[in-house]
Symmetry: C2
Subunit: 281 residues, 2 copies
């Protein structure tokens, strides 16, 4: 398994792979790999001839005051995990290789990026869209794999790929959870023991919402209230948003019908977590 740092070299290798008829699968990550990432890698390895994993903590998707500096980094362990999963190549560029002096172009997603996470983190999705556009062009994959945990990110990137006619497909893999239900996230490492316990609020609220919908409830105010009340059992978890939305375009709905997604974000101390659940109403 090779580790490539130079974008030009990476592109040369991936172009040669494509020209020789290989189907490239791509898993873009910020490292600190957990079982969620590994599920994406496994899916790529199963569907593609070569799997390329990028490990790059992208500065432009963090706002000032967010956790860029302390974001978990563990390249050695990531490398071992990738090797175990039959990854062909890790792309591990430096910030200055990705954003050289004079860098100035940005891909701005549209209205999908103005709600939920986009409201909480106004410059976040432009950073994500721009770095993914770059990575897609450098790595040249047939399919790129993303986790459902960042559902809004997935929709935005799918829209970007469609809008800019990027020649690849995106594939969404299900959320991987701890035994008690907490969605895996590199940021779970930030949690103290008591915060970790109360972080279950997100999954519990989503489960409560889903259960209500399954029982026939369609009134979104009632569903949201019920989800919100779950948080009282987890005092360290402070909800930021609790939303019931159309799963195609993230518009808030008043009545559940068709494809619905429940989305939650909450803070535990300084740690901000997100989670979601797709529900067929």
């Amino acid at each position: 398994m090779k580790v490539i740092k130079c974008p030009k070299k990476m592109h040369k290798i991936s172009s040669e792979l494509s020209l020789s008829g290989k189907k490239i699968g791509f898993v873009p990550t910020m490292g600190a790999l957990h079982k969620g990432h590994l599920s994406l890698i496994k899916k790529s390895v199963s569907l593609c001839d070569e799997t390329i994993v990028s490990i790059f903590v992208n500065p432009t998707q963090f706002a000032k005051g967010e956790d860029l500096a302390c974001y978990p980094r563990n390249f050695k362990e990531d490398k071992t995990l990738c090797r175990q999963e039959d990854v062909s190549l890790i792309f591990h560029p430096s910030s200055s290789a990705m954003y050289p002096n004079g860098f100035q172009s940005t891909v701005f997603p549209g209205k999908l990026a103005t709600v939920l996470e986009g409201k909480a983190r106004p410059s976040h999705f432009a950073g994500v869209a721009t770095v993914c556009c770059k990575l897609f062009n450098i790595v040249n994959p047939s399919i790129a794999f993303f986790g459902q945990k960042d559902y809004q990110q997935f929709l935005i990137l799918k829209q970007m790929v469609f809008d800019l006619n990027l020649p690849l497909k995106l594939f969404m893999c299900p959320i991987v959870r701890e035994k008690d239900g907490l969605a895996l996230s590199s940021r779970n490492k930030y949690l103290s023991k008591s915060e970790r316990a109360d972080a279950l609020a997100l999954f519990s609220a989503l489960s409560a919402g889903k259960k209500l919908i399954f029982s026939g409830e369609r009134n979104v105010s009632k569903i949201k209230n019920s989800m919100n009340s779950v948080f009282s059992d987890f005092p360290l978890a402070k909800p930021e948003y609790i939303e019931v939305a159309d799963s195609d375009n993230l518009s808030p709905v008043k009545k559940c019908s068709g494809k619905t997604i429940l989305l939650v974000s909450a803070k535990l101390g300084k740690t901000r977590l997100i989670d979601n659940m797709l529900v067929k109403a």
Copy 2:
């Protein structure tokens, strides 16, 4: 020579050409082809195996009140000219094929797009960058050809290609001029006879500036004043900007040194024209 309207079909053809080892040259145009465009096409035909010309009057690069509706369109004649020049294929999509319902992602160029034309036409270069990003992804060329007349556009697109790691090279071809010096432009068709005569102001001002620099003048205020005074001989031409800038980044310079570019825009009635001249000081 084929005419392709569907972006997906276009991409399929260009991918197959690439995979078979053909070097694709691309000339993106808004049609109303003149000898300036033909010089780009000839250059592409001479350097590449297959030349693809796009003809698409891109709505997103026109602001409200600009000349989108009356922009000259003459597809029949364009087709004849392309056939004569050995163009392999014309890509001629509809607006709705390029911007389907729900379209929302935009490529924003950075500070290069805030001066000169970017100041006069604030949304113009985001429209140009976005459509070119799309076209490059659809047509998949090795080299795309642009004219020096839109010098700022060329710098912005070169920066975008670099910033977003788009896998192609851009090639700039010299300005093609009428016998008297007027730079060819599809918008010259808008000019009345008397406006056409006074449109020579732009070339004359640039020539005066160049002559001064060649004679040893380095003081930019003096050079600009001299360029400005040329306009008094052409009363129908109203200058919008007269600039002396660094040709690498378009920063205004106070003293000419190294690579300098002179840039002018002017209005003749409702018609806005631009022109420029590279000068080695």
